[in-house]
Subunit: 256 residues, 2 copies
Amino acid sequence: MNRPKILVTNDDGITSNGIRLLIEIAKNYGDVVVVAPNKPQSAMGHAITIGHVLRLEPVDLYDGVEAYECSGTPADCVKLAKHHVLKGEAPDLVLSGINHGSNTSVSVLYSGTISAAIEAAIEGHPSIGFSLCDYDHSADLSHIEPYIHQIIKEALDKKIQKGLTLNVNFPPKQEEEIKGIRICRQAKARWLEKFDERHDPMGKRYFWMSGEFENFDHAEDSDEWAVQNNYVSIVPCQYDMTAHHYLAELNTTWNL
Amino acid sequence: MNRPKILVTNDDGITSNGIRLLIEIAKNYGDVVVVAPNKPQSAMGHAITIGHVLRLEPVDLYDGVEAYECSGTPADCVKLAKHHVLKGEAPDLVLSGINHGSNTSVSVLYSGTISAAIEAAIEGHPSIGFSLCDYDHSADLSHIEPYIHQIIKEALDKKIQKGLTLNVNFPPKQEEEIKGIRICRQAKARWLEKFDERHDPMGKRYFWMSGEFENFDHAEDSDEWAVQNNYVSIVPCQYDMTAHHYLAELNTTWNL
């Protein structure tokens, strides 16, 4: 029987600690192919490259693993992997991450990591995005390894429903061990931006954007509650943006 | 009574024909402020600018309208507009577009135009994204003008439910007049990519990505059906990506 074909990508770039660990774990479960960005592509959302050319170069970074670095976005990586590297062959599983930083709540929309997983779901491939809620790129990952094994094993065994992806967030390393896994919904929250106005040496104005996460949702079935309380959160994600509950109101109340 | 404050942005850039018309129409209904990209930002999805600085410059392009060009993405423009230009004052309506090209179905995920409108929804502001299903930047827009007036008037009158945005797509100009407006759901479809492999003058390989839209969904309540049949489609959009229907199965069937 053929081993599963597992495609691995991320948004922090092909040399980050997160993807390194994910590749090592994935090798236990199938034949791994890596197509990942050649530079950081955090917060690129579901951007794709049109109007510019794409580069794709083989790299010898991971023992016994076919790997390519790509000049494009995470979503580009999935598209190039499927249609060029795998020559249209469907991967059995697409893994994205491990992201260095949280992707709970609305961060799914900004995240290159999760957008790559959603792109795989659109293409019809089972996929999982993994994120550690710690922005330090050298953060300890040892506490999450057993959970990544477990989730990949279950995903290969049970099969994720077609068109869905799993958004997995891990709490940062703490003294207390992780309490377990919780199946969650996306928390109601947003980022509140601040703009730091400065002037460059030529006197021209520029801004640094920074933000604080503002969570309105403290319910125990939300992903943010889970990671705040030292659980692994898993949110199954779909990509139909339609507000189905509002169709009737538009049809009946609005003069359109 | 104060006139409504209307923020206008897009992804094709601040000088495109689409935003020019949208600004002219919006001026009839309120005080318009424009913050839009200083270059094309198509297919940027919900990308935001972190790790790089942002530029914002006032421009004198539109008579009597306060306008700024921004170096960032459409989502950046909404954030900078809200927190810097409007100094935190909530706009009464955010308009994005008119995009030169279709944003039906899954294109909502790739679209900078619709991501700007969704960003506004996340911030709590009523918003509408407008797109013409014609990729020609000099395409005739005259047939859609009355519909834009009508939709803006209704949105200011009836108020869009908080957290939602309207994704409006117009059919291209045809001999037959537009048949009317239909309230729709996002069609089930995807883009099938092709990669054209070439070599640069230095002998290094590069790729052009192109795609064909593959529609699996011919139901009459889908946005793609509407524009194909010369109707204006309006899809109300939300930003909860949770696959609520799959939570129970993960909880009961999977060993997590």
